[in-house]
């Protein structure tokens, strides 16, 4: 996920390369040869830096793309021996594991969003508007699931869930994902509500709207873009989540990341690569959407 976000600086790379041409002129005036060597060295260094950056960014992605279309690829060959879309056909076959785990993944992600919003909308409103005595402590409470090593937490969660019969169920996995997603959704929802000007609510109350009516006709619609953004974060986090699903859901619940893990553990890099590419699609799509929803005035209120 984080890799995609860095695409933009990479794309604007050629721009800095043009700059040394302008910088060269004053150097030429002072000492022609020294200036030339200096600027050539600078250009070379910049190109080298850019190449390393591009390799780190695109190398794994290129490898992934290659593997998804490689039918045969083994040592000592640097490139696949034969190309083809046979494995794509395997993945997209209606009876295949990939399609059913994609459906499971999306279903769990949607349920997770519902659960997370059910908590984060009231909690975010309360944190933004009411004078709560332990406000900071409450905000930090929602951060806690991120603070501890996740494996340790999930092992214990799995134990508790096992004793109440939640292991291996969709409900169990959704609860684990929602607890994880609340970090984003509560903080962003609180910021979104805080960004709504209080006078806008008072203006509605003033001409006769009850507090509840004001919330649903004024506050919520105005906070909606921020809450949408938080929902997308929760959705993507759920789609990507591995550790919790592994400890709580296995073996009955198989999501895409689990399928990917199984495939790559079994040496089936083609299936793993194609699954990874499928997982990439919603991330990239939603990143574009989020960028439109999350406005600066909301972001500036995160954590306040």
């Amino acid at each position: 996920m984080s890799g995609e976000m860095k695409l933009t600086p990479g794309a604007s790379g050629p721009l800095p390369l043009g700059l040394p041409k302008h910088n060269r002129r004053p150097a030429v005036v002072r000492s022609a040869t020294a200036g030339k060597i200096w600027s050539a060295g600078a250009v070379l260094l910049k190109m080298l830096g850019l190449a390393v950056f591009a390799f780190l960014l695109f190398g794994p992605l290129a490898n992934l793309a290659l593997w998804s279309v490689a039918e045969r690829w083994y040592a000592p060959f640097k490139l696949p021996v034969s190309y083809g879309l046979r494995y794509w056909e395997v993945v997209f076959r209606p009876t295949g594991d990939a399609m059913s785990s994609l459906a499971t993944s999306v279903g769990i992600a949607c349920l997770t969003v519902v659960v997370a919003l059910a908590v984060s909308v009231p909690a975010g409103y309360a944190l933004a508007r009411l004078k709560l005595p332990w406000r900071t402590a409450l905000m930090i409470l929602f951060l806690l699931p991120q603070a501890f090593p996740s494996v340790a937490i999930y092992i214990n969660v799995a134990r508790v869930f096992y004793s109440i019969g939640l292991t291996g169920t969709i409900t169990g996995v959704v609860l684990v994902h929602a607890a994880h997603g609340l970090v984003y959704s509560v903080w962003i929802a609180a910021a979104a509500f805080a960004a709504v000007d209080k006078d806008l609510e008072l203006a509605a109350r003033n001409i006769g709207a009850s507090p509840l009516r004001t919330f649903f006709t004024i506050t919520l619609p105005l906070a909606a873009p921020g809450i949408m953004a938080s929902a997308i974060f929760v959705f993507l986090e759920s789609l990507d989540e591995f550790t919790g699903t592994f400890f709580v859901g296995v073996p009955q619940v198989t999501t895409l990341p689990l399928l990917l893990y199984n495939a790559s553990m079994g040496g089936n890099y083609q299936i793993a690569s194609i699954t990874a590419l499928i997982l990439l699609v919603p991330s990239v799509l939603f990143m574009i959407v989020i960028e439109r929803f999350l406005k600066a005035d909301v972001l500036s209120k995160v954590g306040q």
Binding site: L200, N206, L222
Partner: protein, 363 residues
Amino acid sequence: MDNNVLPAIDVDRLEVSYGSQQVLHGVSLSVAPGEFIAILGSSGCGKTTLLRTIAGFQKAAGGAIRLFGRDVVNVPPEKRGMAMMFQSYALWPHMTVLGNVGYGLKLRGVPKSEIHKRVASILKMLNLSGLENRKVTNLSGGQRQRVALGRALAIEPEILLLDEPLSNLDAKVRIQLRSEIKSLQARLGFTAIHVTHDREEAMTMADRIVVMDAGHIVQVGPPKDVYDRPNSPFVASFMGAENTIDLEVHSSGQDVEIRTRDGLSTPFVGQIPMGSLTAYFRDDAASLHDPDARVAGSIILPGTITQRTYPGGHYRYVVAIGDRHFTVTDDEYHALERPVGLRLPVASLHLFPSDHPQGGIHA
């Protein structure tokens, strides 16, 4: 005020605190139906708090607010039946002009076609015809505040509260809206409370002016009374009498003798308080004469002109007398550094005992 008519708003010993800090110290104010009141004061004096407490946005710590005899101190804002205009317009950006103006009617269950009709007539009244489906974010400041006025008037409130609604607007639009609000008030007959820090705005719009300072009402009265007869140094300087001079008044035989700190003495015949006084006067109360002129009933102080500006219509001078500087307006052109006599007609001075708390400097 007629005793048989219940006041539209009766604020009775109202106290408001933010935490441990008391903002309003027992404010009492009675507003007759159809009256236009302007609350004037510098920032932090509690005028906005008073308005917001009347609206119900702020809890009162003590006292009562009665609207036509009904105590509303514990009634939530939506049940108080008033409307407010905000400095920030407070229009809902996710709604059109129609949505904003019609919101209050929709709440009251008015059918859609009726809302359309009534919003159209309100927009016509405010010269906004045909803007129903515009986004409010696409309107100019003046148009936005007109929409906010329309939204407030749509519910036909008996009381309109105005929280500095004109202070974000251009000077020209502001003056235009001032007279529009005033004429609508005359036509529709609602009671209005207008909070402002703009003296001229308060004077031109209000039937009565309420001057507030540090959580107290310091003077209430018609604009001319408050302007001509301020009851304290604070009100005097707030109403624009920012020049001050210390005077000593003694009786000498039949007459009185007014002596300045520089030892200049002027005989005077008439009613005047005795003892150490501080005189407050507006720059248009004084005028420029020859240094050795004698005018009955006026103090003439010799000084020199140090600055001259032309704000339009008349000149404004700064006159230095000793180490003090006074601003004076005069119709005539005078050269700089010219010795002049600053004439202060005693009748137009606001005189207060010198031990009275000083009035500050106000915008």
